[in-house]
């Protein structure tokens, strides 16, 4: 595919991610922080987010699998997840966290498990989307083009 086409796809895809609420303004902020002295900032931060989130989701699964669930511990994990998703602009993941924490307060394992299910889904979706976005970026660069900045 020719560079111009790739760039247009990239811009459209990015716009759709914002429109559909997968990403919010914070993600744009991250893009603003990327420059020549820090050329891979976004990819680096997002990779950290992926690693941390997967670890946390595992921990959550294990914690909710216990006979005696430690809701304080569960809440602490969700708090972490809320923080990191918020920092990278993963809006839909972030939005799952508040209801999850309410369920922790109510100490309801049932509802917590449902929240966990939902947050896993949202996480996988946004991970997929971001990976697609990064692949598009790589294709553009490989074809000799520049990554368009969304305004």
């Amino acid at each position: 595919m020719e560079v111009g086409q790739l760039q247009r796809s990239f811009v459209e895809y990015m716009a759709s991610l914002f429109r559909e609420g997968f990403l919010d303004a914070q993600f744009s902020q991250l893009q603003q922080l990327q420059d020549d002295s820090n050329p891979d900032f976004v990819v680096e931060v997002v990779s950290l987010f992926f690693e941390d989130s997967e670890r946390l989701l595992n921990d959550l699964t294990m914690a909710l699998d216990q006979p005696n669930v430690d809701f304080k511990q569960v809440d602490a994990h969700v708090h972490q997840l809320k923080g990191s998703s918020s920092s990278v602009g993963a809006q839909r993941v972030k939005n799952c966290c508040a209801p999850f924490r309410n369920c922790c307060e109510e100490q309801n394992t049932e509802t917590c498990l449902r929240c966990l299910q939902q947050i896993k889904q949202e996480y996988l979706l946004v991970k997929n989307k971001l990976q697609t976005l990064f692949e598009l970026e790589q294709q553009i660069v490989a074809a000799g083009g520049a990554i368009p900045m969304l305004q």
């Binding site: 991250l30 603003q32 931060v45 941390d52 602490a76 972490q80 923080g83 920092s87 990278v88």
Partner: protein, 523 residues
């Protein structure tokens, strides 16, 4: 060999018109060639570039080329007390000083920003003189006559030791002569060389430069115009350079040759100078040798019930050790490193004085100018147990020019904040396991009050003097900005909060609050 002590400075006389017509590329090429040579061959002392108009040399016939390199006059002062930039002798010290004396008198360090320099010379040509003076190894007497000959270097070992082809100066000579000028030098082996050249430019009518690219000076902030400064420096050439940079920002400067004298000027009750003084710039070597505490000489804050704004204290240094830096900060100085550049000076002053472009426009590329002004050069500690948050917070602060270190827990933060430390501020996450942000802040304040008591205790024995108290600004980073949290933040000793992730506006609000009341506040 201490390279750090090599001083580099530039001084452009007021009388040189702002815009002239000529060949900027070639002009730059010659200057670059001369400065490069100086840099190669100078290991101590200074490299000083001066630009002035040919007419300003009032000392008779010294315009002629002087290729003999030798100087008959015997200078009787000791090695470091020449009236030059670094104090070291130069190839033509006496002459250069005579010329420079006139130039700075012409310029006047009392700078009236409103009045334009009246130019009664209406000829179309203007002859600009540039001199590059260094205190390098100099040129051996017997090779001075072939300096401008292509491919000749001073001796056969030069290219091995210093590199180069030996063609630069001959090219420079050709270029200068093609531009209607003249190049010459004076050099004394082991003392230094001063190369000078003149170029004829055409004067330029202001209205003729409509589509000329804006010069760099137009990017300087105008918010410092009319401020008053005192420069404390016993080296007139060096002081003149500092004054020149301040002048470019519209700041009037008076030069005083010792801290004692500065103190005397300040001490006068009701003195006009001390009432309107915005800043004092002290050269580090003076501060080290004199043992005068300026803090003692600032008039009382509440004299006659008037709120008096203390002038900012700035220490100028070419190099500084950590210990010296700490000592300076403890007494209330902010350190600005040389060589001075007007733009850098403006950024540092913005963070000290808190003035500057308050435009909140969408200038996101480098961070808003105002935040850059506040945070540039500041050393900040970010404490958060979540590494994604740490990385993003650090990235944002670095974008505004701050130097950032991260800690992943309250405990780690405490280890880094043992006094004395050189952090300017701390951004602290509240909810952390083991030790939360409130607890960590409480402990930091405890450490500070112990250190402050100790200082006071010692000082009281000596008869008591006012000293700078340890108080590092700590801002809470929180996603939940509810009133109750803010109360708790303030109770445990925090100075404020910012929302997480950072939002430029609220970050600016929070940071500008406590940076404005720095550095002489006793919280």
């Amino acid at each position: 060999m201490n390279y750090w002590e090599l001083k580099l400075a530039v001084f452009v006389s007021d009388k040189v018109p702002e815009i002239v017509m000529g060949d900027p590329g070639r002009f730059r090429q010659v200057i670059t060639n001369l400065v490069n040579n100086s840099v190669k061959f100078t290991l101590k002392g200074h490299i000083f570039v001066q630009v002035h108009l040919a007419e300003q040399k009032k000392d008779g016939d010294k315009n002629d080329t002087c290729l003999n390199g030798g100087s008959e006059s015997i200078i009787s002062s000791s090695a470091f007390h020449f009236k030059t930039l670094s104090g070291y002798e130069t190839a033509d010290s006496q002459n250069t000083w005579n010329t420079f004396k006139h130039i700075i008198a012409d310029n006047g360090l009392y700078y009236e920003s409103a009045t334009k320099v009246v130019n009664d010379d209406l000829s179309r040509d203007v002859t600009v003189m540039v001199s590059v003076e260094d205190t390098g190894i100099g040129i051996p007497l017997k090779t001075q006559d072939r300096v401008f000959t292509p491919f000749m270097q001073a001796d056969s070992s030069t290219s091995r030791k210093y590199g180069g082809t030996g063609i630069g100066l001959s090219i420079s000579k050709c270029l200068v002569e093609l531009m209607g000028g003249h190049i010459s030098f004076i050099s004394r082996p082991k003392i230094g060389s001063t190369f000078s050249f003149s170029v004829s430019f055409l004067r330029c009518e202001k209205h003729a430069v409509g589509d000329l690219k804006k010069s760099h000076s137009d990017d300087l902030p105008t918010s410092f115009k009319g401020l008053n400064a005192i420069i404390v420096d016993d080296k007139p050439v060096r002081a003149a350079v500092t004054g020149y940079h301040l002048k470019r920002l519209g700041i009037r400067a008076e030069v005083v040759s010792s801290i004692k004298r500065a103190a005397a000027t300040l001490g006068k009750n009701g003195s006009v100078v001390s009432k309107k003084l915005d800043m004092i710039l002290v050269e580090k070597d003076l501060w080290i040798s004199e043992d005068v505490d300026l803090n003692l000489h600032f008039p009382d804050i509440n004299q006659n019930g008037h709120m008096y704004k203390l002038p900012k204290m700035i220490l100028l240094a070419t190099n500084i050790t950590n210990t010296e830096h700490e000592k300076a900060k403890a007494v209330g100085f902010s350190v600005i490193m040389k060589p001075l550049r007007a733009s850098m000076l403006a950024a540092c002053l913005q963070q000290l004085i808190g003035i500057g472009n308050k435009s909140r426009g969408k200038d996101m590329c480098n961070g808003s100018p105002s935040l850059r002004g506040l945070l540039c050069g500041m050393k900040i500690l970010v404490v958060d147990d979540n590494r994604v948050n740490r990385r993003v917070a650090a990235g944002a602060l670095k974008k505004f020019g701050a130097e950032v270190e991260c800690a992943e827990s309250g405990k780690a933060a405490l280890a880094l904040l043992q006094l004395p430390h050189n952090f300017d501020a701390c951004f602290m996450d509240i909810q952390m396991p083991e030790m939360d942000g409130f607890e960590a802040t409480r402990r930091i304040r405890e450490l500070e009050s112990i250190a402050n008591e100790q200082q006071n205790g010692v000082l009281n024995c000596d008869g008591g003097t006012k000293r700078h108290m340890w108080h590092m600004p700590i801002l809470a980073m929180t996603a939940d900005v509810i009133h109750a949290t803010l109360e708790k933040c303030l109770k445990c000793g925090m100075d404020g909060y910012v929302s997480k992730p950072f939002e430029e506006e609220s970050l600016y609000e929070a940071v500008s609050k406590f940076f404005e009341s720095k550095p002489n506040s006793d919280k």
